[in-house]
Amino acid sequence: MASKIQEILGSAAAIAKGMSITFKEMLQPTITEDYPDGPAIFQERFRGAHVLQRDENGLEKCVACFLCAAACPVECIYIEAKENTEQQRISGGERYAEVYNIDYSRCIFCGYCVEACPTDAITHGHGFELASYNTSTLIIRKEQMLAPLEPGKKPSVVLDPAATALAADHH
């Protein structure tokens, strides 16, 4: 008999202990996320979809040195380089990437490209919603990766008025 009473009391104590934790946690802030109903929250160094950065003048930082493509273990980066001209300046260096594609069906987000970049042009953003029903849409072009221009900054193509006039004379 005594053992029965003891068992009931013991169970009640266990429930009380468990519920005390539950009630205590109810008063704490939630740590789970609401994604996709709410925004996803990231660690600062999360390696998401790449962003191609611009310098303080709004010019592209990428000088098409191909080091990211060389560092890439899955060879998902494709670049075509071109020379900046007097009339049209795209990047800060002598040349710029005319084409810069990343194939996200191959990218493993290892971050080697970011480490290799000598101009800090390619960085990992926090974009991660890359799923697609069609692999062809997973090849992302430079225009889709470029950081947006800050309001008030110059456009990426800086036209030198004098040089443009000179070129017009030649034609």
Partner: protein, 693 residues
């Protein structure tokens, strides 16, 4: 080699002939001594101080690139003082070097980059702002970025010694020193680009390759240059089926590192906007694009119809298509169409030379002989313009072996700079000039004779008789124009000679006779442009042209079949000295087909049995049927040059000297094809003394 000098390098006993430089002796013993300014084959400079080594009993570090070996010498190349000196030298070279490796074209194959990686210090003590000078453009091809330059003088030496041009020099002093063209702000030179390739850093960059790609991003394909007849190997850098650069840094091929403007830069005809990429057919008087099937069907139908009624064919072959294509074309003509009316543009009297030398061995020179033989006689040719590799070899021969060179030309040529005797003659009177050299030539131990197209017919025999009377060993080179001019003759693109100089029973029409025949039914032109020089008399002739561009001949055509260029196909070509080399397809142009495939498909459409028409099987037929071409397959397959020697037997035909005329191309022209290279047409050079306006 009885008295070799014995020395010790890094504790290793090394033997070398007296006079060998320590840097070379070490290299042969497998010990690397880093150096920038030292370059095998050119004069010594001792400018860069990278090759310093420690030699026992010598108080200071010694520059191993100027130090000859001595008996009992003890050299250390990795001792502490040497390592420290190298580090400091590199640090010093980097004082003003901009370190813009990410945008520099040389990045990835830069000698300075490699050296700093291997021997340099990670940090620099220099904190001063680097001296900057803006980049200069010296010509459409050569750009110079002074801050990157390490002043090794390689470009200056390759230009003055290697090319014999001397377009570069050095100006200013100290930190302001820089390389400058001899003509102020621009180059007046061969535009060969040797300075760009030899530059150990990215100071000299090429106008074609600049900022296009990176060395490791390209596919490197070694093939034979398609312009002149010298047969230089050019290693094409290809990215995305586009040729972006040509060079031969790996020293493969008979030309070593040498290339002229054509081999290094003139590949750009390959993606010229006017390149034909679809068959064209004349419909309602206008050339219109049609499918391959339709075009081939129309041609086959016409060929079969004309063949059935015994009509008159005229077939013009090319001096730039491969041996396989030329062989198959003459087979198509002779067996398939039953005609001997086949010819090509003849630019040198190879036939008479082969006949005059019949039965001899060792009478045909190779490119290597131009570098090795003790004396050379150049008759009626501006070698530096028309045959740049042979000229380069002769110059190197003079520099290294003190070769004695004689020239008999109609005007000043570059070989005059170092020739022992130069004779000016009227064209056609060269033999008199040669005769005047008899006393000197008969003193030579051996002689190499190079003769141009002004020596033809009986003159060739007279020249050979003259050389025979000297009683010394003589070798010959009959100069011809284009990459496979020699192969075209060997393969029998002639109305009176079949493959391997076998005479045919009923000689056909020559090229001018075809063009003049008013009753010609079909004119089939494979990779040639005869209408640039002749007019076609037969107004109703059906003209079929296999071409890359809409040339004068193609414009007159009824059917134009777009052909692949030499850089887009496999096969073999034979150079001016009879050396057979392999072409390897580097790129593709959509819509085109190699000429061999076009002819094969035509044969199939006509239901002719001409055998299998793959490159390999046709080459096998050439090896068994063309005399002199029984060359070892491994030599050709591994990309080396195999010497052909078609000298076994007389050639019982009378060559037609009146039909032999060299186009006298300069460094900057190359028949019809040269017009479609933007780089070749963009340089402003005048090509040489003979051509000065």
């Amino acid at each position: 080699m009885a008295d070799l000098v014995t020395l010790t390098i890094n504790g290793k006993t090394v033997q070398a002939p007296p006079g060998t430089l320590v840097i070379d002796a070490a290299k042969r013993a497998g010990i690397e001594i880093p150096a920038f300014c030292y370059y095998e084959g050119f004069s010594l400079q001792a400018a860069c101080r990278m090759c310093l080594v420690e030699v026992e009993k010598m108080p200071k570090l010694q520059a191993s690139c100027t130090l000859p070996v001595a008996e009992g010498m003890v050299v250390k190349t990795e001792s502490d003082p040497v390592v420290k000196a190298r580090k400091s030298t590199l640090e010093f070279l980097l004082t003003n070097h901009p370190l813009d490796c990410p945008v520099c074209d040389k990045g990835g194959e830069c000698e300075l980059q490699d050296m700093v990686f291997r021997y340099g210090a990670a940090e620099s003590r220099f904190t001063e702002i680097k001296h900057h000078v803006d980049e200069k453009q010296w010509s459409p091809i050569v750009f110079y970025d002074a801050p990157r330059c390490i002043l090794c003088y390689r470009c200056i030496r390759v230009c003055s010694e290697g090319m014999g041009v001397g377009a570069l020099g050095i100006v200013n002093r100290g930190v302001y020193s820089e390389i400058a063209p001899s003509h102020g702000d621009h180059l007046e030179c061969d535009e060969c680009g040797a300075c760009i390739d030899i530059c150990p850093v990215g100071a000299l960059t090429s106008g074609t390759y600049r900022y296009q790609t990176r060395p490791w991003e390209m596919k490197h394909v070694g093939t034979i240059c398609t312009f002149c007849s010298n047969g230089c190997k050019t290693t094409l850098g290809v990215r995305n089926e586009k040729i972006v650069r040509g060079n031969n840094r790996d020293k493969s091929g008979i030309n070593g590192e040498f290339l002229c403007i054509k081999g290094r830069f003139a590949f750009d005809f390959q993606d010229h906007p006017e390149r034909l990429t679809s068959p064209l057919m004349r419909i309602d008087g206008k050339l219109q694009e049609v499918s391959w099937a339709k075009a081939l069907e129309a041609v086959a139908k016409k060929f079969a119809e004309v063949k059935a009624r015994n009509g008159k064919f005229g077939i013009v072959g090319s001096t730039k298509t491969t041996n396989e294509e030329n062989f198959f074309l003459q087979k198509f003509a002779r067996q398939g169409l039953g005609t001997n009316n086949i010819d090509h543009h003849r630019s040198g009297d190879v036939v008479t030379l082969m006949d005059a030398l019949a039965g001899r061995t060792n009478a045909l020179a190779t490119v290597e002989d131009c570098y090795q033989m003790k004396a050379a006689l150049v008759v009626g040719a501006d070698l530096a313009q028309e045959h740049p590799l042979l000229a380069y070899q002769l110059r190197a021969n003079f520099r290294h072996h003190n070769a004695r060179v004689y020239t008999v030309t109609r005007g000043p040529v570059r070989e005059d700079q170092y020739s022992v005797s130069r004779v000016r003659t009227e064209p056609g009177k060269e033999l008199e000039g040669v005769e005047s050299l008899r006393p000197m030539l008969s003193q030579e131990p051996e002689l190499l004779i190079l003769f141009g197209s002004s020596i033809k017919g009986e003159d060739v025999r007279r020249l050979v008789a003259f050389a025979d009377s000297l009683n010394i060993p003589v070798k010959y080179i009959c100069l011809v124009d284009y990459s496979n001019s020699r192969g075209a003759v060997d393969m029998g693109l002639l109305p009176d000679l079949g493959p391997g100089y076998q005479p045919v029973d009923n000689p056909g029409l020559t090229l001018p006779e075809m063009m003049a025949a008013t009753d010609l039914d079909v004119l089939w032109v494979v990779g040639a442009n005869p209408l640039a020089r002749y007019s076609l008399a037969a107004a109703n002739a059906f003209v079929v042209v296999q071409e890359m561009f809409l040339t004068e001949t193609a414009q007159r055509a009824d059917v134009v079949l777009p052909a692949a260029s030499a850089y887009e196909k496999n096969g073999t070509v034979t150079n001016v000295t009879g050396q057979c080399q392999k072409l390897t397809a580097a790129a593709k142009t959509m819509g085109t087909k190699p000429d061999l495939e076009i002819m094969g498909l035509l044969a199939k459409e006509m239901k002719l049995n001409l055998g299998i028409w793959t490159v390999q099987s046709v080459f096998e037929q050439i090896r068994t049927q063309v005399r002199g071409y029984n060359i070892p397959l491994p030599v050709v397959a591994t990309g080396q040059a195999a010497q052909t020697s078609p000298l076994n037997g007389r050639i019982p035909v009378i060559s037609r000297p009146d039909l032999i005329q060299s186009a006298s191309n300069t460094l900057f022209t190359s028949g019809s094809l040269g017009r479609y290279s933007k780089k070749l047409t963009s340089v402003l050079e005048y090509p040489g003394e003979l051509y000065r306006p």
